[in-house]
């Protein structure tokens, strides 16, 4: 597993799960349709795990998200490291009590006597005509919840590396997998990627574009186009949304003096708001203009193609925001 290899994000996460299960017999996985008898997940992310590690460790579950999360939390309290899948992010809504009242709080409420080293894998993203209940990005809810970390990779290598770190982390991690990025191949070097560390995915000097997940991909595309107009954009892929890498972002924005935050989640009260607020608070003297935000429209994700496309950020809307940022 040391030779870098080209693979897509599905394969990368699958490889990370295999590696983690191999390395540590305490790693478990559970979720609907997860085992090989059920085809290793609806998209195959967990393929092979149950065959290799057994259906005691790798379990397909009934459609019972509260019990899925409870099973993960309970096992994690006594030394296991379960990776629990909530198939799509909109379905975390039926398990919010387990996640936010319990997983996120048990360490604190027990005064550090217990902890909940679980990973919650979930898929989401618009673009597949799935409509209002299958496409939402809800990372802001969890970022607002003390005690849980939030991760959202944009490349196969990061997905691999972050998954390893998330499983090793002693606290709960919400691991967001972006459906639209699943099938894009990339070079994977099979190295862990630390939580809380952003990546400068493109260097630049005029403006900093801060994003993650699909936004990070659109941001790169926007930056390439901007380069043709002579605008040099630095692109930061946060990778971890909470806690986020202030150091890297501050250094970049201190340099460029201008920032645009991008995410697919609804713009209002989204992650971009926090980053914008902090940047103004901390870098007031360095900023040449207000931080701009690009986010999803204030509406449920619509079905019809033209509406669905208008809902989400894209390179063009990022470019437009960059131009506003540049004044």
């Amino acid at each position: 597993m040391t030779e870098p290899k080209k693979m897509n994000m599905i394969e990368a996460i699958n490889a990370a799960l295999h590696a983690a299960c191999e390395a540590n017999p305490k790693v478990l996985a559970l979720g609907e349709d997860l085992a090989d008898n059920e085809e290793g997940g609806v998209i195959g992310v967990t393929k092979g795990l149950s065959t290799k590690f057994g259906t005691d460790r790798i379990k397909s579950t009934p459609i019972s998200e509260q019990a899925i999360m409870g099973a993960a939390i309970g096992a994690s309290l006594v030394g296991y490291r379960p990776v629990a899948e909530i198939m799509l992010m909109n379905f975390v809504t039926v398990a919010m009590d387990m996640i936010t009242n319990h997983a996120a709080k048990l360490r604190f409420m027990s005064g550090g006597q217990t902890n909940v080293p679980i990973v919650i894998r979930t898929m989401t993203g618009s673009g597949f005509s799935q409509g209002g209940q299958h496409s939402d990005y809800l990372e802001a809810w969890f970022a607002h919840t003390a005690g849980i970390k939030v991760v959202a990779p944009s490349t196969p290598a990061d997905a691999y590396g972050l998954m390893l770190s998330a499983i090793e982390d002693d606290d709960p991690v919400m691991f967001i997998e972006s459906l639209p990025l699943y099938w894009t191949p990339g070079e994977v070097d099979f190295k862990p990627v630390p939580l809380g560390k952003a990546k400068i995915s493109r260097e630049g000097s005029d403006v900093t574009i801060i994003s993650y997940a699909t936004g990070a991909v659109h941001a790169l595309a926007a930056a390439e186009k901007l380069a043709k107009d002579g605008i040099s954009a630095e692109v930061i892929d946060l990778r971890t949304i909470s806690p986020w890498d202030r150091e890297t972002v501050f250094a970049s924005v201190s340099k460029t003096g201008r920032a645009v935050v991008v995410h697919e989640a609804v713009k209002e009260y989204g992650v971009g708001a926090e980053i914008s607020a902090v940047l103004h608070e901390q870098l007031w003297d360095k900023l040449k203009g207000p931080v701009q935000r690009v986010g999803g429209a204030y509406s449920p994700v619509p079905f019809s193609k033209p509406l669905e496309q208008a809902f989400a950020p894209n390179p063009a809307s990022i470019i437009a925001a960059v131009k506003v940022a540049l004044g």
Binding site: E38, S60, N90, V94, G131, P302, F303, S304, L307, F311
Partner: protein, 327 residues
């Protein structure tokens, strides 16, 4: 079961008409998808047609139904117009939801089609509320909650049945047990053989019937509807059936043993009912041919109208979020 009231000849013919409409429509949807003309997640209802056709034969337009992503059969049986349906599937302005909802959120209150949900289990709590309203209104309406076998393991099932029983609401819970939940077989998610026994947990009547048999299905629903209209409370009907296609279009359903599937298809309830109508002298071959041709022509017309209609304007993103359009 045999002492259920049986459908008369006219009702049987009506059930067949509905079932044929559902089957032909489903085939047409898949055809248009395969041709690349419709892009959406689609949950075929082939094999389950008799259930909603027999249900709807007991209902009026004033009765409410809530259904799920796999629910076009329920809707068509209830009288959802083909144009409004196809317009929505095609994401056009003439769709019932103006293209905003799509296949998983089809709605048509004029015929009592109140909610279609993409979240497993969530048809049930809302149907309880419609039942509460029906009881308050005192006009004898009933509220139908459709859901699958997999959904009977989620918390919303439990809360809804308990509340409906406690309040003696006119709600009929119809569990369409097609033996699979996505890739997971009934046996892999449930230890009990029959979902209907769960009714006892709530002090509710519960029965398991062959959902593919119009006599049993119609009769069980008739009894339940009469009970509900008489103010005697809810019923849980478990309708045994089979899903002929994968979970959604594109899923080859390798997790279903081929013999199991073949045996189910052998007993295909739609041609079986057709044969029976002929054998019993309810209709002649020519009558049925005529009916079928009419149905196909109606579907044709709806498909043509749908593709001829406009796609929604992006301004629609701001509409229907709230009563008043957003600024």
């Amino acid at each position: 079961m045999s002492n259920y009231p049986k459908p008369d000849a006219a009702t049987l013919l009506d059930i067949y008409k509905k079932a044929a409409l559902i089957r032909f429509n489903d085939e047409r949807v898949i055809k248009e998808m395969t041709a690349g003309k419709l892009i959406m997640p689609f949950y075929s209802t082939q094999g389950q047609e008799i259930i909603p056709s027999s249900v709807a034969a007991n209902l009026t337009d004033d009765d409410y139904i809530c259904t799920i992503y796999r629910g076009v059969h329920d809707m068509l049986a209830k009288g959802f117009p083909l144009e409004a349906l196809w317009g929505e599937l095609a994401g056009r302005v003439n769709g019932s939801c103006k293209g905003k909802g799509g296949p998983m959120h089809l709605t048509y209150p004029k015929k009592g089609m109140m909610v279609t949900t993409g979240v497993v289990g969530s048809s049930m709590p809302i149907a309880v509320g419609l039942g509460w309203a029906a009881k308050l209104d005192g006009k004898g309406q009933v509220s139908i909650a459709n859901f699958g076998d997999g959904a009977s393991n989620i918390g919303a099932f439990h809360e809804s049945l308990n509340m409906a029983a406690l309040w003696d609401l006119p709600v009929i819970f119809i569990c369409q047990n097609n033996r699979y939940a996505e890739h997971t077989s009934f046996a892999n998610s449930t230890k009990v053989e029959r979902i209907a026994i769960r009714a006892a947990s709530y002090g509710m009547e519960g029965v398991t019937v062959n959902g593919n048999d119009p006599d049993e299905m119609y009769g069980a629903v008739k009894v339940a509807v009469e009970r509900a209209r008489a103010g005697e409370g809810p019923t849980l009907i478990e309708a045994m059936t089979f899903r002929f296609n994968g979970h959604l279009v594109g899923d080859a359903a390798h997790y279903i043993p081929r013999e199991e599937l073949a045996a189910a298809k052998e007993r295909d309830p739609v041609p079986a009912l057709r044969k029976r109508l002929l054998a019993d002298g309810v209709a002649r071959e020519a009558d049925l041919d005529g009916i079928e041709a009419e149905i196909k022509a109606a579907i044709d017309a709806a498909v043509i109208a749908a593709f001829a209609a406009e796609l929604p304007d992006v301004a629609e993103l701001k509409r229907d979020v709230f009563a008043h359009e957003l600024a």
